[in-house]
């Protein structure tokens, strides 16, 4: 995996796990790779994976069954979606607005572009 240069690796790994869950590659309430397996896949120190899993546990995305490993929470995908929506609203949208203002693009123009985008994607 290629990590970006700015964000802490353990957070990037947490994001990677969330992506997998959101894309339903890892199903809800099912076992996810062990710390060591994920360390090998991502070529990082197992201690870093440990930290990501602890972080995800705190955020109730995954949980641990004693002696069996890590599992996704039954409502993990929903939770991730909600968190990411909030994050988008709080962090990315203001950035976008700032740029729109700079380039003088009205919000009404976005409506059409967005519909076009959705249509071509389907």
């Amino acid at each position: 995996m290629d990590f970006n240069n700015t964000q802490a690796i353990y957070l990037q790994i947490a994001d990677y796990v969330c992506d997998k869950i959101q894309l339903e590659q890892w199903r809800e309430d099912e076992k996810i790779p062990s710390v060591r397996e994920l360390a090998v896949i991502l070529e990082v120190n197992p201690n870093t994976i440990m930290r990501s899993y602890e972080y995800l546990q705190q955020n109730e995305i995954i949980y641990t069954k004693r002696g069996m490993g890590y599992f996704t929470q039954p409502n993990a995908a929903k939770k991730i979606l909600k968190t990411r929506q909030e994050q988008f609203m709080a962090e990315e949208l203001p950035q976008l607005f700032k740029k729109m203002q700079l380039l003088n693009i009205p919000v009404s123009q976005l409506q059409a572009s967005y519909e076009q985008f959705i249509n071509t994607k389907n």
């Binding site: 700015t6 090998v40 120190n45």
Partner: protein, 277 residues
């Protein structure tokens, strides 16, 4: 696992390479040993594995004194040197003659690593390229399951796919009672593996910190202009603005750039080190 106290070492009496060096290391981690050329990284590793003896001070590794070089010690402390010697035999007979010296040696692991490195196991060692030989030695070193693994520039001579394989193998192999010290110039190859940083400078270990603590104390950022960020300690001009090391006042998590951190420590030593006191 490694306890070094007031170690002084020099090849000549007047010129000390290591002076009053202290180092206490516990297992379960991958340590990156960084330092300029000639700072004494290899000398330190050689003192740890018993190839060199300290002039004064004590060195204890895995409960033993390295300089005695007892068989039990040597079975548990493996040095992978930068330049390796391999005899003119096939991989199979190399294994036959060397593996029995290591009671914990795992042939399965050895062949698994060779396969991951894509080294054909029928080869004669002398006909191999430097990189191939290095891969055989890395596989052998890891298969000994030694408690302390010292690697001097392990990725030298490896091509890009092999470096990737190397990272995968190391990530999968380290155990809780095991310790890996990697001395390297090529920090970029390994910075996702290393979780403790050791910096050797001025004949001693001036910094010994977990990566987590470094990113707690310092923020690593890329900015367009230096005005965007407060409390900058060190910056490097890059194509798109600056790579910056700053005091982490806001407790933001960031990704440590080991190369920039190393440069920052060498140029702004006092300022950086004072953050960790």
């Amino acid at each position: 696992m490694i306890n070094i106290e007031n170690l002084t070492f020099g090849y000549h009496k007047k010129q000390m390479v290591l002076e009053n060096l202290n180092l206490h290391i516990k297992p379960g981690h991958i340590y990156g040993l960084l330092g300029r050329n000639g700072a004494g990284k290899s000398s330190l590793l050689h003192n740890i594995c018993g190839l060199l003896f300290p002039n004064t001070g004590t060195c204890q590794v895995a409960g033993k004194i390295p300089a005695r070089r007892s068989p039990e010690f040597l079975q548990n402390v493996f040095l992978l040197p930068e330049e390796i010697y391999l005899p003119n035999v096939s991989i199979k007979s190399y294994l036959d003659i060397y593996a029995p010296f290591y009671p914990e040696f795992s042939r399965d692991m050895f062949f698994k690593f060779l396969k991951e490195f894509e080294v054909p196991k029928e080869n004669k060692l002398q006909n191999m390229s430097y990189g191939q030989k290095k891969k055989v030695m890395i596989s052998f070193a890891l298969a000994t399951q030694a408690k302390v693994l010292l690697m001097d520039e392990p990725t030298n001579g490896l091509d890009i796919p092999s470096k990737k394989q190397f990272r995968k193998i190391i990530a999968g192999v380290i155990k809780e009672d095991q310790l890996i010290i990697i001395s390297t110039h090529q920090v970029k190859d390994l910075d996702s593996l290393i979780d403790f940083v050791l910096i050797l400078e001025d004949n001693k270990i001036i910094l010994h910190e977990p990566v987590d603590r470094i990113t707690d104390k310092l923020a690593f950022k890329q900015v367009m202009s230096l005005d965007e960020i407060a409390a900058v300690i060190y910056s490097e001009g890059a194509l798109k603005g600056y790579a910056v090391v700053a005091i982490n006042h806001k407790q933001e998590p960031s990704r440590m750039d080991m190369e920039i951190f190393f440069n920052a420590v060498l140029t702004e030593k006092q300022q950086i080190l004072s953050q960790f006191n």
